[in-house]
Symmetry: C2
Subunit: 313 residues, 2 copies
């Protein structure tokens, strides 16, 4: 049985191996083969500052969705997450329980010190899980930075988790997080300052340009006691239904595919530029002159682009 | 007198206005005009987690370099920095003193919630300061994410600041930060845990692949009392001298120009793709088929790229 059949059957070992291949970029053809079988999974992004309790929330959301007979993929891009090996032993044991469930596949994406390409690799890993028949893919990120924004781009619903005590760093992140949030959760709802934060967030959301038909929910949870989780899962599926019925899911996914194709074309052209259009020696001579400020990179780029591009006929 | 002459003379009001234009992308031609006058400034990146005391260090480094008759540009990309308006009143007053010095230009880059394009804008702002005759440009970022990595790319010397008490989040960042650091500083050197952190960092640096001729210094400072600052400034200029003498400065700057040209070509081609190569209606039909999984984005991208690219003759 070849790898594709095994993936479509949801074989965990093969899924793990193929994601590793994708991560190491050792087999670009894989994604091409997998693509026709994708487009079914619903992507949920879970993001927020360190210590907000994202992993515990992912854990309980996954449990609720499992109870409704869904297959769940979990990808952790958060270096402090127990899924990716960063947190307390107690957490890790709980996660292991989840990992042993046959309807769950858990994967952590290692940033290996450098973040370049991490978003791309995460998105490609999600594609593998999509082909493997997951109904929901939960992607946990620590945010917000460019990687988180890029990952939020592929998520259908983005849930932002905040906690009252995160303080200043959260303030700094808030603006960026609110921009990508479809649902806001204030976790650790038993602590001081929760109501104040809830009020602030509701106010901030009111200022945000309204998307027709979707009122951004601001919810309170306590992940450790599972308080508020039913409402959260309800609102996630409510958002899913809203996107489906309004036609926005299709529209947004098409826009994403468009951007992806643009990216791929850009990649291919860059490769071509390096390999074929200009000989290495010629390029080195040009760079020497740019370094001496005798040539201008903006003009050079214009000329190279024109040299490369066919005019339409 | 036109804007270019005013910039070359170091007129602060014009510098500020032109950086705003660059930030708003309202005049792309500006950078083309400025470019011939750049390449002289030495770029120093200062990065680290929130609360590490980056701004205070930037402040004292700037003071030392001013005493040596240098012109200094400061760009703050850190939302918690007093330069960009995030910190305590006391800090902000100290920074204002510096801002009033005729040989200092301070600029904060607003992320406005979204981080897309921030690195690019920061790099372009540095180009303006370079043309304006700054000897040193200090770029303060909160790290480490993709934006920081992109900015580190343009810095000749990158200084990473850590503090003992930052704890977990620092642990998560350390690997990434060490990769881009030329010099490591442990700040708040009067606190507990400093010696342990220094030892850990020295050990981590030893594991790192050595660049011929440069021993990565691991230094201790207390920015508030200015302890250790002379050594830090000495090591920065030591690194500058090393890069100059070894020919690495020229080599690395040429490699950066090469990447920049590649980027610009990619941008121009993307624009061209959207505007000319494929008609909107045709592209929409293609996307519909990709959405239905009847076509594959990887093949489509290949075809579009081939359609666009001339074969060399």
């Amino acid at each position: 049985m070849n790898f594709l059949k095994k993936i479509l059957k949801g074989d965990k070992l093969t899924i793990a191996r193929v994601i590793s291949d994708v991560e190491n970029e050792s087999n670009a053809k894989i994604l091409e083969k997998i693509f026709p079988y994708t487009g079914k999974a619903y992507h949920i992004g879970i993001t927020g500052p360190p210590g907000a309790g994202k992993s515990t929330l992912v854990n309980v959301i996954a449990k609720r969705l499992l109870e409704k007979n869904n297959k769940i993929g979990i990808i952790a891009v958060d270096p402090t997450s127990p899924f990716s090996g960063g947190a307390l032993l107690g957490d890790r044991i709980r996660m292991t329980d989840l990992a042993l469930n046959k309807n769950v596949f858990i994967r952590s994406m290692a940033s290996r010190g450098s973040l370049g390409g991490l978003a791309r690799k995460t998105i490609d890993a999600a594609l593998v899980l999509d082909a493997a028949g997951m109904d929901y893919i939960l992607i946990e990120t620590i945010g917000v930075g460019q990687v988180e924004l890029d990952i939020a781009e592929v998520c259908d619903t983005t849930v932002v988790i905040l906690v009252p005590e995160s303080g200043d760093s959260v303030q700094a992140m808030k603006a960026g997080l609110l921009e990508i949030a479809d649902i806001i959760v204030v976790n650790k709802g038993d602590r001081d300052g929760v109501d104040r934060l809830l009020m602030e967030l509701k106010f901030a959301f009111e200022l945000r340009e309204q998307k027709a038909g979707w009122d951004f929910p601001v919810l309170k949870t306590t992940a450790t006691t599972e308080a508020g989780i039913d409402t959260l899962v309800f609102e996630i599926q409510n958002h899913q239904e809203y996107l489906n019925k309004s036609g926005r899911l299709e529209k947004e996914r098409k826009a994403k595919l468009m951007r992806r194709i643009n990216e791929l074309v850009g990649d291919k052209i860059k490769l071509h530029l390096r390999e074929k259009i200009i000989q290495k020696e010629e390029l080195e001579r040009i760079i020497d002159k740019v370094y001496e400020r005798k040539l201008n990179p903006y003009n050079i780029a214009d000329k190279i682009a024109k040299k490369m591009i066919k005019t339409r006929n």
